[in-house]
Symmetry: C3
Subunit: 496 residues, 3 copies
């Protein structure tokens, strides 16, 4: 990880001096370990094309809905930030961020931005309206250098494994290109991914690979939501294309077969997981006749809201069945109402900052799935929530019994230092550390990857250090745990 | 703010010595700033009449449902405390509190009572059954002095702005009287409201005003619940009176016009906000025909429970529309089931300690309102909750996108040091500090106002200090934040 | 309490040195006080028979569903652990725990196991695959000694009062046997239960009783769930037996009379409370005709789901009425969906680790009960939850008003240090310390009793110490509070 001169080396660690000392030692023991990122949204194209980032606005503003949302709340027009592909002035967009920097004080986004600017780009100026232009130019200068091309950064970040998120019909040619360009596969061919102990920068672009691959691995992820949910835009058209592309018949069995075929295609291209984003973690088992009926009604657009919900719930259960069969890890991201502001959606499209969480429950909704597949050794089901109440109440108890269930890392709004600490406190006493997923960065913002993983390592070191000082675990257990959290645990959960 | 000899000057600050030092410095930088109280329940009459408080029971027991409820839970009859206007012995009521003092250990009420007794009244004895009579007499002695008349205290507390809560049909003559007596208007005419840096007492009654007004401002607040909710007692009669008083016709349009007219009246008398207390934050948009139908059915008493709910939900949306039009800040206090104990309500009336929170959700219920008005620059909608789960899950995400939405300060049961700390931790990482409302005391207990604001300043100083020590914000950002939290933020949110 | 050489004497106390010092002093002042355990699941037979524990597996693995669940999640077959009465190798079962020891790091179970091994049994080796056999043999050696017979441990633990949990038709002969063997009754006849200040071991088996009883008191608890809930297995048969055994007629009145008769029987045998485990805290009042109708339908198996729910809800209200009449404290454990995994239930039976909490609300569901009986001085209703959100939102507000309502100690998954701290923080500011129940261990694992109570004493000392250091309570108030929490409070709540 990167340490800026300007940044406190003890940042995010507990204030109490004795605790901080222990936490720092634990953190130091893992800060240089490679990054395993088994779920995220960086496009494969970024690395395949390896073009220089355009400017500070593209890097830090336009594509980061954490940033644009808070500027929007302050009255900034999303269009001025480049959201929705509208023509905009990137320098002006950056100025809008810089002159509103105080809005991000104390936020996760503010912390990451600081880390990216100082840690990755080596900018030492504090961001403000006054320094906006200077920093914009400094960033531009950095980005023009080969050392800041995506692949060089990928290598420098010490990424051992990076998963993208992909449409089931994607041909994954970008992933093929990456393989051809020396990126490893899920088996961790890249010798370069070992990471130097101590966590210093790994040097310039490319690095000297010791193994069969020059770079760490990049793998696709199967994300089938829009083919499973009758309420998704373009569901019927999507399914029709899916059936056509796979040569499947327009029956429920044909549809299942088509999905299975695409999953196999993904697996052949290195995928280790299938990702499901749902409003509610609701599952239901249906017999073949009813499934067929609902499938046809959903395609015809004649299914009512209740039937669409049941179909969706059945497809979540069917997806678990496919994971049992083909081994893809199933990640479930539940509880976000997407596109809350229709006016904004219409003007700027999805992922523009108004996806809002809702109260979520897992115990009853997942029961049909778990009754049927919860004891299957080949199923790995990782549960992500943005409703913190489910950590101690449902997710930890489920993961503390079902061998298939893992506690997903703090996600989205909860991917932040205090929330991470609450997450550990809420889950560990019931389920320990070994039922959690390891850290998942879930990010579109490539430059934020090291900052996010570093944050998790710091927070976990602080949490574990407290347990040591409270006499609850030994120091040597603590050392094992912080290491396992970034190595053996994510590898086991994601079958790497 | 007041510092008693008996009170720890570092109270409520974090224990860790380094953290405490920073927190204390941050606190000291704002402890003497004037109080902005944009939502509360102190009656205007108290200041207009400026009569001496009667005794310790009236000050600390009878009217404070935080106090009477806990005594009631311990088996004390509410009547003996003077609740419900029943004849009672005030000295005996005070003795009941004093002899049950340990019940309040660790509670917010206990802390405030201590602050009021020592900080405001300068009582140095510890409260107990043994000291009850002595303290009662000491309090009586203080209250007999002109320095403890309501206006003198108002001045001494350094109140820059105080909002009352008023019925829409109130003629606001008490507010007129206050204006005549030298109280300022929302524009902050009072030179005396500046507050001396350092936070010492401002001296005796009256003070020497340097500006156009002798005292800080007092403004009414429009609280229309009983005219909007068909389930409220006396709804039909209330609406009839409203229509009669405003000369409006008994149509939905007439009714809306009547409300608008009374809002204008309030605005002319200095009101800056309209306050809405609802069981659930549920909104619905209706066309004119359906609205008319439900209005007539509600008035006639023929609307069923579902229709009454829809009407209520539509009136919340209409109230937002009115705020867009006339600029009144809309505060929404949601999620409390009032008068849980019917027997107690029948004997002692409302606000007698058995209003109990319920699970609350905002994301879906507010959507119709936000779809329609959420992007309007003139709307300020401040969300208050007593369901902590909504902080990180819904309120912070909503306020982090919609320019109209602000995160209300911890309210009611959550207006307490630990709960405030949880509030900051739950909201800041998503929405920062600048989407929060600033502190709101929401109190009927006039003497508790400085203690409540002081508590918020201490807790926020502690929270911000931690972020400094964790390397998440700079010291200079921290200084700006703690100052903004009690100055620019409440002024901007409440359009002062 | 026991202090192992290997265990940190400051364990579970806050890290900050000044806070820790105060917390330690507060803890030391109560660590040696006797244990009051008014709700738990240790069978009376254990003490009545006073047989030696068989081995480490029986003690620490097979019967502890906290332990077996986490091993199961790690892929261990429950049968290999002896769950469900299946033939198994106890040494091998112990090895399975020992070799998976790291899974329990940071969990409440892991902490208790450590405390039991080191504190009670004096094992100084760290548990691991390597030490498994040695420790197994060391445990066996200890268990063979008279000092580790159940009664000797009961005495050594300093248990003043222990409640079991019993079927309403139990003849309580084991309790009779205990009385005959020198165990006290609820009135605390046992002089031996005083506990030596300082908390050292109380010596060998038996002890020298100074009062009328040689040992502390053991009392039964009336647990009627399966006779009240039409959805419980064997409900109709159970009720038929109940009616036959009490000579009651098969009418609703006869049924109520039968329950009342059995409650009287329990009271005569020393019971102080009736315990109710429900999925939801839902109550409803019915007139006699409707109650009779639902009763007959429930018995006949013709009641639909809604009717069964209403009947169950009415019986909860009737149980409160019985408590008003006969004085049995009513404990309510709500919000756990039992036997989530049907396959596991069918193979291994209930209580095998897959009871999973659900979102729970009390405010509305308990209202009919509280409207009718909430102000009755003779009702003590203790509310337990595994949904933490209810602490600040519902339970503390209810207990802060109704004299009948008490806040149950953190239960089940929440019976753990961090969760306990959150519990105090969530409830104290609203309801203080004196509306809480005192600690309840709720355990089947006899050897874990001292560890559990010690944990609560440590956590409470840490919490109270923080309030002292934040200037919120005085040091002398703190000393009173920590003592009351383990003495006067549980005695008052459970009418001991």
């Amino acid at each position: 990880m990167y340490l800026s001169q300007r940044r406190d080396p003890d940042r995010l660690l507990p204030s109490d001096p004795a605790l901080r000392r222990t936490a720092r030692e634990l953190y130091d023991s893992v800060s240089g370990l490679p990054i395993i990122s088994p779920h995220g949204h960086v496009p494969a194209r970024l690395l395949a094309e390896n073009r220089a980032f355009a400017n500070a606005a593209e890097l830090f503003v336009t594509h980061d809905h954490y940033v644009t949302r808070l500027l929007h709340a302050a009255g900034v027009d999303l269009g001025a930030l480049g959201v929705g592909g509208i023509h905009f002035d990137p320098r002006e967009a950056w100025r809008l961020l810089a002159s509103n920097w105080q809005l991000f004080a104390g936020t996760a986004s503010g912390y990451w931005l600081d880390e990216e600017l100082t840690g990755v780009l080596g900018i030492e100026l504090e961001v403000s309206a006054e320094t906006a232009d200077t920093i914009y130019d400094q960033v531009a200068e950095r980005l023009a250098s080969p050392a800041f091309l995506p692949r060089a950064l990928f290598d420098q970040f010490g990424i051992e494994f990076l998963a993208t998120t992909d449409d089931p019909l994607d041909e994954l040619d970008q992933h093929d290109a990456l393989r051809a360009a020396g990126f490893g596969a899920a088996g961790f061919g890249a010798g370069s991914a070992g990471g130097a102990p101590g966590g210093g920068p790994r040097g310039g672009a490319g690095g000297s690979a010791g193994g069969s691959a020059e770079f760490g691995a990049v793998a696709p992820t199967f994300r089938p939501d829009r083919y499973l949910d009758p309420d998704a835009r373009g569901f019927a058209e999507g399914v029709a294309t899916l059936l056509a592309r796979t040569g499947a018949s327009a029956t429920f069995a044909g549809y299942l077969g088509a999905l299975e075929q695409r999953r196999r295609y993904f697996i052949e291209h290195g995928a280790v997981s299938a990702d499901h984003g749902v409003l509610e973690p609701f599952t239901v088992d249906l017999d073949a006749v009813e499934a067929e009926r609902l499938f046809q009604a959903a395609l015809a657009g004649t299914a009512d809201a209740g039937e669409r919900r049941v179909f969706r719930g059945h497809m979540l259960l069917q997806s678990a069945r496919m994971s049992v069969d083909d081994g893809l890890v199933m990640t479930l991201h539940a509880g976000v109402l997407r596109n809350h502001s229709t006016a904004t959606f219409n003007r700027f499209g999805p992922d523009t900052g108004h996806d809002i969480p809702v109260a979520t429950t897992f115990t009853r909704g997942l029961r049909p799935l778990l009754e049927k597949y919860g004891l299957e050794p080949s199923l790995h089901l990782v549960l992500f929530t943005v409703d913190e109440t489910t950590y101690s109440r449902e997710i930890a108890p489920l993961a503390g019994f079902y061998p298939s269930v893992y506690i997903g890392a703090p996600w989205w709004f909860l991917d932040a230092p205090d929330a991470m600490t609450r997450f550990r406190a809420a889950t560990t006493e019931t389920a320990g550390f070994y039922r959690s997923s390891g850290f998942i960065d879930d990010t579109r913002a490539f430059l934020s990857i090291p900052a996010r993983h570093d944050t998790a390592r710091r927070v976990d070191a602080g949490f574990v250090a407290r347990l040591v000082h409270e006499g609850r675990i030994t120091r040597s257990a603590a050392e094992t745990i912080v290491r396992d959290l970034v190595t053996t645990i994510p590898r086991a959960v994601f079958k790497l």
